[in-house]
């Protein structure tokens, strides 16, 4: 285990490139954030504006879903390299989460 | 030693057969001797699934026994290295497909029956005069006893359910305290009695209980509900429609039958508000309710059991009144002494109460 951290010093060019890439990525994150704020605003506005419940509920749930995907895939890098198992288990978790919620809203009464 | 296993399997098969041949248990309580449409359906499912399962077991056993007999080391030789087979797609397919087919055989009647047994749509069907065409009984389960209310007829009884034969009887189940489960094994499967909702189902009774050795079907509480869960039994009398109607009429008579004889009259006094005030928990008229604190005793003299499970005689009754905790740990009836300012009841007083209670009857 001692041997898996040999240090690799990158050339200047390589380094500049990596740095640039990270800066680009950060810009993407900023955009993601803007979208999230926007989605949140829509959700709150719809409720404040008092549209029909049947319209609002599915839409705000959808918006929440999109936000979660943004968080997971952009902020948390779930599509990144080495995230295969991670994604698999998160999806299993969401699957169990989904059926749990489904069950408790359908087959438990009042 | 493998012969041992073979012998065991034979032995198991024999016991199975024997047990089935012996009729399996007592008529009053065995699911194997169905006494109603619902139980019959369920029994048929039992037989069907048992055949399928037996088939599975036999197939597995044959392969199994052949394998362990044919390929033992004593036959194959100490040093023999078998061929390292990887697998066979064809076989995998076979033993995926065959079980699926077997399961389909089970699935169809399962789904059909599930919906059929849950169908209570005819419950509220009304005849032209506005009365229901079917009998409905509201069952309330309370810590270790059962109350049966007949809303259409305006009567209440406890511990012993009286129902007409050869028709569907609908049940509304609710618990007064914690969860119980309502089960009459020989008449049909159970349904839970939850504290937060009314559960509804139907049963039908195709046999008159008087034909049974004990004269009643046995009912059980099937959900752990505390120390006396094991003793939370009830009894079912199934009678033909005519007799049932008579019983209802008798129950509807407002006044409880007057106590006969001195002893019983003394008992009635003790029972009443000026005596031990048993009446504050126990109603003695079929039409009257007590808010469900204690079982309605209007039909006590007709009962088959005391407190649901003790043999119905004065001895047990007196013991019960003296010290209910002794017989049903954790039940909610106070012992006699605590109702009598801390003093034990005298034998004479007990005799009186017993005489009175045994005289409460609506059957001729």
């Amino acid at each position: 285990m001692a041997h898996d951290t040999h240090i690799q010093v990158r050339s200047q060019a390589e380094f500049e490139y990596a740095k640039k890439k990270r800066a680009d990525e950060m810009k993407g994150h900023l955009a993601t954030f803007a979208i999230m704020i926007f989605l949140t605003l829509i959700a709150f506005t719809m409720v404040a504006a008092g549209f029909s419940t049947y319209l609002i509920v599915p839409i705000i749930l959808l918006l929440a879903g999109i936000q979660v995907i943004l968080q997971l895939y952009y902020f948390m890098h779930m599509s990144g390299k080495g995230h295969g198992m991670v994604a698999f288990f998160m999806f299993c978790g969401m699957f169990v989460a989904f059926i749990t919620v489904l069950a408790l809203v359908t087959i438990v009464w009042w | 030693m493998m012969k041992g296993i073979k012998k065991w399997r034979l032995f198991a098969l024999m016991t199975t057969l024997l047990v089935f041949l012996a009729g399996c248990g007592r008529e009053e309580i065995s699911t194997l001797i169905p006494a109603g449409e619902v139980a019959q359906d369920q029994f048929n499912l039992l037989i069907l699934s048992s055949i399928v399962m037996l088939f599975v077991i036999i197939v597995v056993s044959i392969i199994f026994v052949l394998a362990i007999v044919k390929f033992r080391r004593s036959k194959m030789g100490e040093d023999m290295i078998p061929e390292q087979v990887e697998g066979s797609a064809r076989l995998e397919f076979l033993w995926t497909a065959v079980p699926i087919v077997l399961l389909l055989v089970l699935a169809v009647p399962t789904v059909y029956s599930t919906f059929d047994l849950a169908d209570v749509s005819t419950m509220d069907v009304q005849a032209e005069d506005g009365t229901s065409t079917h009998l409905t009984v509201n069952v309330t389960a309370a810590l270790y006893w059962w109350e049966f209310e007949y809303p259409e007829q305006g009567i209440v009884t406890a511990q012993e359910l009286v129902v007409p034969t050869d028709e569907r009887v609908y049940f509304n189940l609710i618990s007064a305290d914690i969860k119980h489960s309502f089960w009459i094994p020989s008449v049909g499967g159970k349904l839970d009695v939850n504290p937060e909702n009314v559960n509804t189902f139907y049963l039908s009774f195709d046999q008159q209980s008087s034909e049974l050795e004990d004269g009643v079907f046995y009912g059980k509480c099937a959900e752990l509900c505390g120390p006396s869960h094991a003793l939370m039994d009830f009894k079912v009398k199934s009678v033909d429609r005519e007799e049932f109607d008579q019983w209802v009429t008798a129950m509807q008579e407002e006044e409880p039958a007057a106590a006969e004889g001195d002893l019983a009259q003394q008992g009635e006094e003790l029972f009443g508000a000026d005596g031990l005030a048993c009446i504050s928990c126990h109603a003695t008229s079929g039409a009257g309710g007590t808010g469900g604190v204690g079982p309605n005793l209007a039909t006590f003299g007709d009962r088959n059991r005391v407190a649901g499970y003790l043999e119905h005689n004065e001895e047990n009754l007196k013991n019960w009144i003296q010290d209910p905790q002794e017989y049903k740990p954790g039940n909610l009836m106070p012992d006699a002494a605590s109702l009598n300012d801390g003093e034990e009841l005298s034998d004479q007083e007990l005799d009186a109460l017993a005489a009175y209670l045994m005289g409460l009857s609506v059957e001729e």
Partner: protein, 627 residues
């Protein structure tokens, strides 16, 4: 015990085990405490059977009987079966994949101590005012009504030990994902490793609902919340759902590792590669997956409505298919093999008919309308003891014999082992076969007594007689363990002669650093491949001999668990009114817990190195001390 431990005094040995982070020693801890709880649960089972031996027996009172069945079920499932299986996973799985240790040695120790203190906490209820008495399922309305603190011992104790199990599950998953030796692809992993993997995944996703349910119960009973208080708008069915969303996967958490152990045994003692390895792997995954979609089959009679019942009935039945695939692949593994009937193999062989009998009654219960009759009757008791005793317990007994030499370096007596087997096996069928019929004859479960007028006397008496045979079997097993330990005849790497996987390639017991050099895996059953090719060194290695990095031992896991244990007493008595010290105890416990956590995060724990020179010394027969 390991040779290192023996040289030390008794106190030092104890200290060693309290601070160890070595997966092999933690395995021994799990085995001993799980074994102890198995005896406790077994004694409780015997009490149950004595009480039910005849009609109207008054050996146990009604209330005590309920406490005993509750503790029997809870102990057997949470404190006996699971920990013993975790013991085998700890002892064997890292060896099977050629890892140096598990991914988080520190957490491994924490997981054990949490389980241990949780179990002790639960059992202390016997001495502190009464055990829980609402059944192992602890249904909410009864649990809320139960007097005294029994239920609180249940909820708090299971919460603690549940955290331990969750930690163990995560640990195994990461170990398998990240620490496989070079060449050990997923499709070359031994089946026991695969089943450990899937069972751990089930632990990961099934324990949270239980924990949440337990917390609700704690809040309701101890802090005045209303989740299940019907008159306050609560709903008791929520508990049932949460419990069974956990509960059904739980039974597969038990049976999958058992399947894994049997898979190893069938291959080893038939001297044959597992037939349909790929199918076995996928069946394992499928069972795990389906396991989450069937829980409501425990609730058919609750009144969920026909649609829910039908859906869950069908979903449940499907599980028979992957399980069947497993059964038939095992049969084809021994078919054409060269079967040697050692003790582990006898258990494995006996498992097949026993488990199939239990499995098919499960499918019968899945037929919802039929289950209206079967539910909460002795038929259920028969079903689950057939799958649990006929599956899990037989696997535990088989695994104990199979892996004893790997864990302790000495073989259990084959002769006594066979005696144990016959007593246990015959007793098992005698006890539980007849219970199917008791159920069909109308006998509900969880009854402390039954009347002589119901026709159940004879069968109950037979059932109790069977239990006595089982007890004799277990006692012979104990004798076997003691005698073997006293004799202590040492064995080599591969005592069964036909080992196929990596764990048989290193000494029994393995040195504390496991493989001096990480092995290179060239296929399924890698050790067998090397043996067949006549490799004298046993294995091919993936790296040259070099320094090995090892984690330090630590007492912190023990102290953290102790902190939770103490805090739980505080919580338990918190609302009692007459116990002002409860809050103090709660706070002190929490301080110990968080203090030791803080200590852990502030103090860097970088481990130590074993040098190449020491390894060479060790290989020559010298001793390297762990520290």
């Amino acid at each position: 015990m390991s040779s290192i431990a023996q040289k030390k005094g008794f106190g030092a040995t104890i200290w060693d085990f309290m601070t160890t982070v070595d997966h092999k020693k933690i395995a021994i801890l799990y085995l001993i405490s799980g074994g102890f709880f198995f005896l406790v649960g077994g004694v409780e089972a015997m009490l149950i059977r004595i009480q039910l031996a005849k009609a109207g027996n008054d050996f146990l009172s009604a209330g005590l009987y309920n406490e005993i069945i509750t503790m029997h079920g809870t102990t057997m499932i949470f404190l006996a079966s699971m920990p013993i299986l975790l013991a085998f996973m700890n002892a064997i799985m890292p060896l099977q994949i050629g890892a140096r240790d598990v991914a988080f040695p520190f957490l491994n120790s924490l997981g054990f101590w949490l389980f241990f203190f949780g179990g002790i906490f639960l059992n202390l209820s016997w001495f502190m005012g009464g055990a829980p008495d609402a059944g192992w399922t602890n249904y909410a309305s009864l649990a809320l009504a139960s007097e005294g603190h029994g239920i609180d011992f249940y909820t708090l104790g299971l919460t603690i030990s549940g955290f331990g199990t969750l930690i163990a599950g995560i640990n195994f998953l990461v170990t398998i994902i990240n620490m496989r030796a070079p060449g050990m692809t997923y499709m070359r992993m031994p089946l026991f490793t695969w089943t450990t993997f899937v069972a751990s995944a089930l632990i990961l996703l099934a324990f949270p609902p239980l924990t949440v349910g337990l917390f609700f119960m704690i809040f309701d009973r101890l802090f005045g919340a209303n989740f299940f208080a019907v008159d306050m708008g609560g709903n008791t069915i929520i508990w049932e759902h949460l419990f069974w969303i956990f509960g059904h996967p739980e039974v597969y958490i038990l049976i999958l590792p058992a399947f894994g152990i049997f898979s190893e045994i069938f291959a080893i003692f038939s001297r044959k590669r597992l037939f349909g390895y790929t199918a076995l792997v996928f069946a394992t995954i499928l069972i795990g997956f389906y396991g989450f979609m069937v829980w409501a089959h425990h609730m058919f009679t609750v009144g969920l409505g026909p649609t829910a019942n039908a859906v869950f009935a069908l979903a449940t039945m499907i599980i028979a298919v992957p399980t069947g695939i497993k059964i038939f692949n095992w049969l084809l593994t021994i078919w054409g093999g060269n079967i040697s009937f050692t003790v582990p193999m006898i258990y494995a062989v006996a498992f097949i008919p026993s488990f199939v009998a239990g499995g098919v009654t499960g499918v019968m219960q899945a037929i919802a309308p039929l289950d209206y009759q079967l539910h909460d009757s002795y038929f259920i008791v028969a079903h689950f003891h057939y799958v649990i005793v006929g599956g899990v317990v037989l696997a535990i007994l088989a695994g104990t014999h199979l892996y004893w030499p790997k864990m302790f370096g000495t073989m259990l007596s084959e002769k006594l082992g066979k005696w144990t087997f016959w007593f246990f096996f015959i007793g098992f069928h005698l006890t539980f076969f007849i219970q199917h019929f008791l159920g069909l004859m109308g006998m509900p479960r969880r009854v402390y007594t039954f009347g002589a007028d119901q026709g159940w006397d004879l069968f109950n008496a037979i059932s109790s007689a069977g239990a006595v045979l089982m007890a004799i079997g277990v006692i012979i097993m104990l004798v076997n363990v003691v005698m073997t330990t006293i004799k202590n005849e040492r064995v080599g790497n591969d005592p069964w002669g036909d080992g196929r996987t990596l764990e048989w390639a290193i000494p029994s017991p393995p040195p504390f650093y496991n493989f001096a050099q990480t092995p290179l895996v060239r296929g399924l059953d890698t050790y067998w491949i090397e043996k067949m090719e006549g490799n004298k060194k046993g294995m091919i290695f993936a790296e040259p001999l070099g320094d090995i990095h090892m984690p330090n031992g630590s007492i912190i896991p023990f102290v953290m668990s102790l902190g939770m244990f103490i805090a739980s007493f505080g919580a338990l008595y918190f609302l009692d009114g007459d116990k002002p010290w409860a809050l103090a105890v709660l706070v002190i416990g929490m301080l110990i817990l968080f203090g030791s956590m803080l200590l852990r995060s502030l103090k860097d724990d970088l481990g130590f190195h074993i040098t190449k020179a020491e390894l060479l010394e060790d290989a020559k027969g010298g001793k390297t001390d762990g520290h």
